[in-house]
Symmetry: D2
Subunit: 138 residues, 4 copies
């Protein structure tokens, strides 16, 4: 791995200050990235369910972190595509865990599969595929 | 149309209070829904570009509003799928306009095509297809 | 499982006669469906690579078979959506294996994740998510 | 436009001989590409409806042709992603028309929106977004 959890968190805080405190990195290794969201009022829809944009944001940052950890600082890497299926309501009041797996890491494109689950539950709440464009190295 | 802009805005404020003031409805008619986002600090990434989750949220609510206006109050209609392509950086400091067109409105599923553009620009910033599940009428 | 491999193959031959001999079912169990394509001339592009439509067809039938095996004969189940990422060239002259996993099987919608790999290779050639509409039981 | 209909058809026959006679180009201009499929037995499912893989193939080639006409011979351009929604049954025995519009044509990626309709019908049968990777110019 190119970066440790601590280095990634530091870097995220630099380049995405608005996201400070939103997400936590639980694990970063060759096979998988695990990130966690503890839902707050601003993440919810009436009824207490986590909003679509919040789930999209979690999947997106999990993919970004997976790529970042593999190839180092890539502030200019941008999401070009996301396909996401929302399949079940997340459990109210329970942390949402994102499990990211890199399917492809090429010279200019990366594809990451992300599954979102309520902590402690086997069922997938949402499944996403994110494609990132990777800028050429200077 | 089942509801007017004013009725839709009132309804949105009831069922999605967290979204109060986020988005504005510019037009609602048979062919098309137009919604507007005026970007604030919380919508931006460093460098001033609008974040992916913000664009996702705008596309999502434009689709929801298009369906709502056509068939009336549907608080339980939920997004089941979104495919979104991010193609260009939006213009900094310019409102983002979402143009939604219903492609299919069936008994249980609706598919809406949404194009996002910076106001005044012809190029598409992001293009999305959203699928909503429509609950059976009581 | 509602149906055995033999029963599924018989049923497929009945309802999709044009697909006779195209695909083989390697395994059907609770967790996973495995299907195989042995590429012929008609499946290829110049250079010997398997065509996109062929890979789409394999992913699509793998999803259909996974659902069929779980809930029995569903001739009217139809694909409503597919998102597919083509990530690597398949190995020329090697069978293509589809691994399908049901992510959600609801009353009216099913979502299946399908990974395509060249036999004997760990890398994913293509990854797809297919959504099927399931007709209400008579 | 870089190529005429006649030049594109000649080029397609060279690089995709298996597709000879499958599809016809009706129009090629700055805004739009129109292609036509006349359904034959091999394109159909029981009941006479056009198969998903056939519709995928039509959308895919419409996108490829749109790009080809704009930037010239690009045999190595490959589909990297497709999101497709199947929304209505096509009319039996009627030609299927694909209308392709380039949403983005960058240095390395192109995104094309394709709508499929039965000839003479306003309703969209299927809507797709295809992303193509464009190889760097030699």
């Amino acid at each position: 791995m190119e970066l440790t959890i601590s280095e990634v968190e530091t870097y995220l805080a630099e380049v995405f200050p608005q996201m400070r405190g939103e997400f936590q990195i639980d694990a970063l290794n060759e096979e998988q990235t695990l990130m966690r969201l503890t839902p707050e009022e601003r993440h919810l829809r009436p009824g207490g369910t986590i909003s679509g944009p919040t789930m999209f944001a979690l999947a997106d940052v999990a993919a970004y972190v997976a790529i970042l950890a593999k190839i180092g600082r890539v502030a200019l890497a941008v999401t070009t595509h996301c396909s996401i299926d929302f399949m079940r309501k997340p459990q109210p009041g329970v942390d949402l865990i994102a499990e990211g797996t890199i399917l492809k890491l090429g010279r200019s494109l990366a594809v990451v599969d992300v599954k979102l689950r309520s902590e402690g539950q086997a069922d997938v709440v949402a499944a996403a595929s994110l494609t990132y464009s990777i800028p050429p190295k200077r």
